[in-house]
Amino acid sequence: MKFLIKKEDILKELQLLQGIVEKRNTMPILANILIRASEEELEITGTDLEVGMKTHFPASIEETGSITISGKKVFEIVRSLRDGVDIKFQDVGQSKMLITAGASEFKVVCLPEEDYPQIPEPKFEKKILLPLEKAKEMIDRVFYVITQEQRYYLNGALMIIKEGSLEFVSTDGHRLAYTSLMVENMNIENEIRGIVSKKTLSELRKFDDDKVEFDLDENNLFFKVKNRTIVSRMIEGKFPNFEAVIPKENPNTLTVSRDELEDAVRRVSLLSTERSRGIKFNLGKNQIMLFSSNPEIGEAKDQVEAEYNGDELEIGFNSQYLLDFLGAVKAEKVCIELKDENSAVLMRPELEDDIKYVYVLMPMKI
């Protein structure tokens, strides 16, 4: 294998693959990327067995072939070279790849292609096209709820595609984020539901284009943007019945400036306990009183004007969960719908844009 390519033409691809290759040292080969040179183009693959990415692009190929090599090292080498330089890659035998650019020369240890895991091949026959920029915005609004903690059973977001709409839902057991978007002409016969891993969502956020093409088989979800394809193993397990926990008729509605509430929560949370981050809301006519106390540090209170005519209510929250939502929502004002101090609270932007956004939060007993 031998090929020549400009630094700028390969750097971005290698960088994207950094997010994919395995960082923990469970299987050494997974730290490698697979480079294949065919007559017309170069194809590079990375995978951690859960999420894989394949990208292809033109290069001047002198000799076809394939090899696997440390994804991190190749990226670091290419990045370190002078901008605009032509880089030559050459398989020199004895499991070595020679990388040269001008006077710089690197000989890097390789492993044969045979050891590299097979990645499922997508067919993309369904021709499902999703709006990428909108999908990225939706992902932003559910992403922060997904935790990697062992305690929580979900490390991904549920994606629902049906005729007319695209939805994402995520939950960690204490809160739930739901977004939906109207999408026309997707040609969906049967509703599609799949849990997309956090890693895949995080990679999708890095892509740029109008559309992302989607497909799936029994075990995998496929996303294609231009020359790049992500293969994501579907997370097994049943996503909880989220429709049932979204409160429909909470009687007390509060409307408040997003900025003012966020600032006040941030201030008061300074003296909440590290572990639980709990703060208390005291709702009265047209105002929210906020409290926190920590026996080891002290206590704080603050007050925010709001539109509120509901019951007087004292209710506790994890301040971080409030800040997560207030940081993700862009509207000027937010609505908070409550029932009582033990029941789920619904939060949403006062004015909806084309992406519907709902955040459900369980209170905290303080």
């Binding site: 305690r151 204490h174 926990v245 007993k365």
Partner: protein, 407 residues
């Protein structure tokens, strides 16, 4: 720095004294608590009569028997000692918030902050001592000094049953004639070296410059230099938030019957839940521990989305974990335990598990009944199964063997 007023208070021959209280016929006899003479293990307490024969705590039971063959050897009821200890600390805490629990029967009190409350410290110390003795029925010794070291040395002098105060200005006189091994920093080896140097009394140490002690004993030398002059800046450490609460028990005989094992588990969950409520804690992690007949120990834990405090809920989790463990082995068990950890004082509710305040209120109501009529007044039918094995005490519930005292 302001002169501190530190009290050290210590129950005399604690375990043995409790045994004498429970069985007055033991009075005046050499009592040794810790096990029977032929058993492995060490004496945890010896009564003053037994000490006359040279028996002391930490000595192997066999050795103790050799020295004192007519001694009365008792295995011990740790749950009862624990109950006495709790009462002891409850009394002490009513005088000052600055109480350090040095062990089950030993405490340091810092009265400095309470100056405005008490006209005379000496009088209040006599009162504390008197009240503990009257309410527990046990003799205590107390020492007073301007730091923990002096207070403890004063208690040693006051033993048994006395009260001694090292007054301001009298420290040097007090320390001078004490034997060097009374300092906590001087172990057997150090002692031997010092005795070779003809140092026997604390006063003899004063002739050594700091640097000599340091070159002889390293950092310990520094410590000895300061201690010999009665200098000790350690604060009285008030209890911090516990990391976990656990209860476990070793069975009198290995148990195979799963229903009986679950009865033990339920009872231990009840005790854990009680401690959680007392400290107003909720646990994010429930862990079950079993030890098989072949001494192999296994644990299994669950991380919870909604932290728990209620006995019933904790038992349901513990039961499931126990059944997972039990399904992997056919051996009988010699120990079972349950631990609640990752404790918080707030409860984050879960979206997918129903929550009702009723169970929380039930726990509080149970506590109120038990406060009034004793722990044994309310038990589940499952816990009642233990009646066939253990002595039942209305005040304290079942008297299990070596109930865990760890917090």
């Amino acid at each position: 720095m302001k002169r501190r007023y530190i009290v050290h208070i210590d129950i005399d021959a604690f375990f043995a004294a409790v045994e004498e209280l429970l069985d007055p016929s033991l009075k005046g006899k050499p009592v040794i608590v810790g096990g029977l003479p032929q058993e492995r293990g060490v004496a945890s307490t010896a009564s003053y009569e037994a000490r006359k024969y040279g028996v002391h705590s930490g000595m192997s039971l066999r050795k103790a028997y050799q020295l004192c063959p007519m001694g009365i050897f008792i295995r011990g009821n740790y749950q009862i000692y624990q109950a006495f200890s709790e009462k002891f600390f409850r009394i002490l805490s009513s005088y000052t918030p600055d109480v350090e629990q040095a062990s089950l029967d030993e405490a340091y009190l810092d009265l400095t902050r309470c100056r405005p409350l008490y006209a005379s410290f000496s009088k209040i110390v006599r009162q504390i001592k008197h009240r503990v003795e009257k309410e527990l029925g046990l003799m205590v010794s107390a020492g007073v000094g301007s730091n923990k070291l002096l207070a403890k040395l004063a208690t040693n002098k006051a033993k048994p049953g006395g009260l001694f105060e090292v007054k301001q200005g009298e420290e040097i006189e007090f320390l001078k004639t004490l034997s060097i091994e009374s300092l906590p920093g001087i172990g057997l080896k150090t002692q031997a070296i010092l005795r070779m140097l003809n140092v026997h009394k604390i006063g003899d140490l004063w002739g050594f410059p700091r640097s000599s002690l340091r070159s002889l004993f390293g950092l310990d030398g520094e410590e000895i230099y300061l201690q010999s002059r009665g200098i000790d800046s350690r604060p009285v450490a008030t209890p911090s938030v516990p990391k976990s609460i656990s209860r476990e028990t070793t069975f009198l005989e290995d148990i195979w019957d799963q229903r009986l094992l679950l009865a033990h588990l339920a009872y231990l969950c009840d005790r854990v839940a009680l401690s959680l409520r007392k400290g107003s804690f909720f646990a994010h992690i429930i862990e079950v521990k079993v030890r098989y007949a072949d001494f192999r120990t296994e644990t299994r834990r669950r991380l919870l989305i909604m932290p728990l405090q209620e006995m019933g809920e904790i038992y349901m989790v513990a039961r499931e974990l126990f059944l997972q463990l039990a399904s992997s082995s056919r051996l009988s068990l010699r120990l079972i335990g349950v631990r609640a950890s990752d404790l918080t004082r707030t409860r984050a509710l879960s979206l997918f598990e129903p929550y009702s305040e009723r169970k929380e209120r039930l726990g509080i109501a149970m506590d109120q009944v038990r406060e009034k009529y004793g722990f044994g007044a309310l038990l589940t039918a499952r816990e009642k199964m233990l009646e066939s094995i253990y002595t039942f005490d209305k005040e304290r519930g079942f008297v299990l063997k070596t109930a865990s005292l760890t917090k």
